[in-house]
Amino acid sequence: MKKAKALGLLALLAFSLAFPLLFSNPAITTIAVFTLLFAAAGTGWNIFSGYTGYIALGHAAYFGLGAYALALLCQDEHIPGGYIPFLFVPVAGLIAAASAVPLGAIALRTRRHTFVVITIAIFFIFQLMAYNLRAITNGSAGMSLPLLPPDWNEYFLNDVFYYVTLVLTLLALTLSWWVRNSKYGLGLLAIRDDEDRALGLGVKTGSYKLVAFVISAFFVGMAGAIYAYFLGSIYPPFAFDALFDVAVALMAFLGGLGTLSGPILGALILEPAQQYLALQYGENGWYLILYGLLFLMVILFLPEGIVPTLSKKWASWKAARSTAPSREPPPDDTTTSSQKAALLAEQGKG
């Protein structure tokens, strides 16, 4: 079983590496880039919201921060277009992460519902600052990022961005996997199940939550930076887009909140769908209606998401298959253990 899983993952990896070579149409690779950006951002968001259960609906703030950070860095340092701006993407991510430290500390003083609202409030503060701090952000006129070299044709540039975003997604996934399998991750999951109980057992809930929050801001910030560079210019409503949070949350919920592959699966399904809808139906009206309906259906019919629902079905199918028709009574643990306990007591252990 494990071998099959490993082989499957390798095949998937190989496919994703070869993807731009197989489907070189820029329209398709553009959608792929957006999908991977959401996959990376979603995985990052999931490290916090999925594992701790605190739904943060203001991460678009860090997306925008990363975007503007890169724009400002490139502008101030007169960075030319090409490969070099990519080196500054992690820096933009770190800036987003650094600002998440005080903001997360404030937000995490509250619980559940209040927490959601305060993350939304922080998002709006940033959006308003982007509009109003004209000296820095150029207000609603927006900022532009370094022009890409003219010898990069549309195929090549899409390929470059594709591989960059693929790397980001793989990084996010690796970190998410590693957190999941560490004691730190268990602490996060315990916080999700019963925070006060976890605290009462010695889990340092405050710092655990904050660290997860900052990690998620780091990845979302980097996604924002790459997005800005890809588009070539950013404006307050695009960098700080309320629908971004909705999209990320929906993708994670669809795939399975708190699972490793959930956000990625969600992004793979929803982002191409969203791009298609936007193309067909334009800005207002039908696009929003269909999106909202899709949302509702996901939440009402697949409340746990695809991955957990599937794995539950798989587990019950396996259990049904392995039920042996034997009639022997279940082993009586209790007698053996009490005999052991008696033995331990007799030996005067401890």
């Binding site: 609906l57 619980r111 519902h113 409030a121 709006f124 019963d194 909202g292 409340p303």
Partner: protein, 291 residues
């Protein structure tokens, strides 16, 4: 100084309208433990309904409420029955996403029907004001404030002087216990949601009469409403009222004293600052289980 007093007066008057919209939101939270993100979109829907009645049937805005409020009440009950009731686990979190989806749908429908052009409600009392003690008071603001007063007082009477109100308050304090003593909590929930949405019909009319709006106005609205109920303490009606007045006065005063550009930012910053010192808001309760 005069300008500041004028700003305070406007703040109080507008605050009354926001209190109306916020009470519905906090009431719904208190009884059902869910955050109705669609409240903003419903306010805008209410505004458009008043617009339609005024434009095509030439109905006065306040008279139109006699139609729009019952209509929105039914809509609220329908939404609760169709979507909210289905949520069993993780109600609070899922309700945020469900109501967000409902908000998107409403916004989409409104966009299709009315396009994204800004509109405003018309009546003789809009853009006309009267003088009182040296200050110009726009009629519509005063009327809206009075409307809020009437509706909020009715709400108070409903909650504290009727049997239904008692059931509602019982459900707010302890859902399970209420069920155990025979209160049909599901019915109470549906009706509460309906009331909360009916209030948005009135709030929407007042909002539409004082500001130009389009389907996208719901974002700004819901963010302010959320800030208000968190500030006041979620589930506290008294808190919603006081927080609305306080926030709007501060916002309007900031606009004249500093700059209108920053007045909305001040709104959000104040919330963050307050929550630093008092995470439960003014009248709310600290969360966490002791069992």
């Amino acid at each position: 100084m005069n300008i500041i007093i004028a700003a305070i007066i406007t703040g109080v008057l507008t605050g009354g309208v926001y209190a109306l919209m916020a009470s519905g939101l906090t009431l719904i939270f208190g009884v059902m433990d869910i955050i109705n993100i669609a409240q903003g979109a419903l306010v805008v829907l209410g505004a458009y309904l008043s617009y339609v009645l005024e434009q095509y049937l030439h109905m006065d805005l306040f008279v139109g409420l006699l139609l729009t409020m019952p209509l929105m009440f039914l809509l609220g009950v329908a939404i609760e029955w169709a979507f909210i009731r289905k949520l069993k686990r993780d109600r609070t979190m899922l309700s945020i996403l469900v109501t967000f989806a409902v908000a998107l749908i409403i916004e989409g429908v409104l966009g299709q029907l009315f396009t994204t052009n800004y509109v405003q409600l018309h009546a003789w009392y809009i853009n006309a004001s009267f003088q009182l003690a040296g200050f110009y008071l726009p009629y519509i603001y005063v009327f809206a404030f009075i409307l809020s007063g009437v509706l909020l007082s009715s709400l108070y009477l409903l909650l504290y002087r009727t049997k239904f109100g008692r059931s509602l308050r019982a459900s707010m304090q302890n859902r399970t216990a209420a069920e155990l003593i025979g209160i049909d909590v599901e019915k109470v929930s549906a009706l509460t949601f309906g009331i909360g949405v009916a209030l948005t019909a009135a709030g929407g009319m007042a909002f539409g009469a004082t500001t130009s709006f389009n389907p996208g106005s719901s974002y700004d609205l819901i963010s302010r409403l959320l800030v208000i109920i968190v500030l006041g303490g979620m589930g506290s009606l008294r808190g919603a009222l006081i927080a609305s007045l306080v926030m709007l006065v501060i916002e309007d005063v900031t606009a004249v004293v500093w700059s209108p550009v920053w007045s909305s930012t001040v709104f959000f910053v104040l919330l963050v600052v307050l929550l630093l010192f008092r995470p439960q808001g003014l009248f709310g309760q600290l969360e966490g289980r002791k069992q």
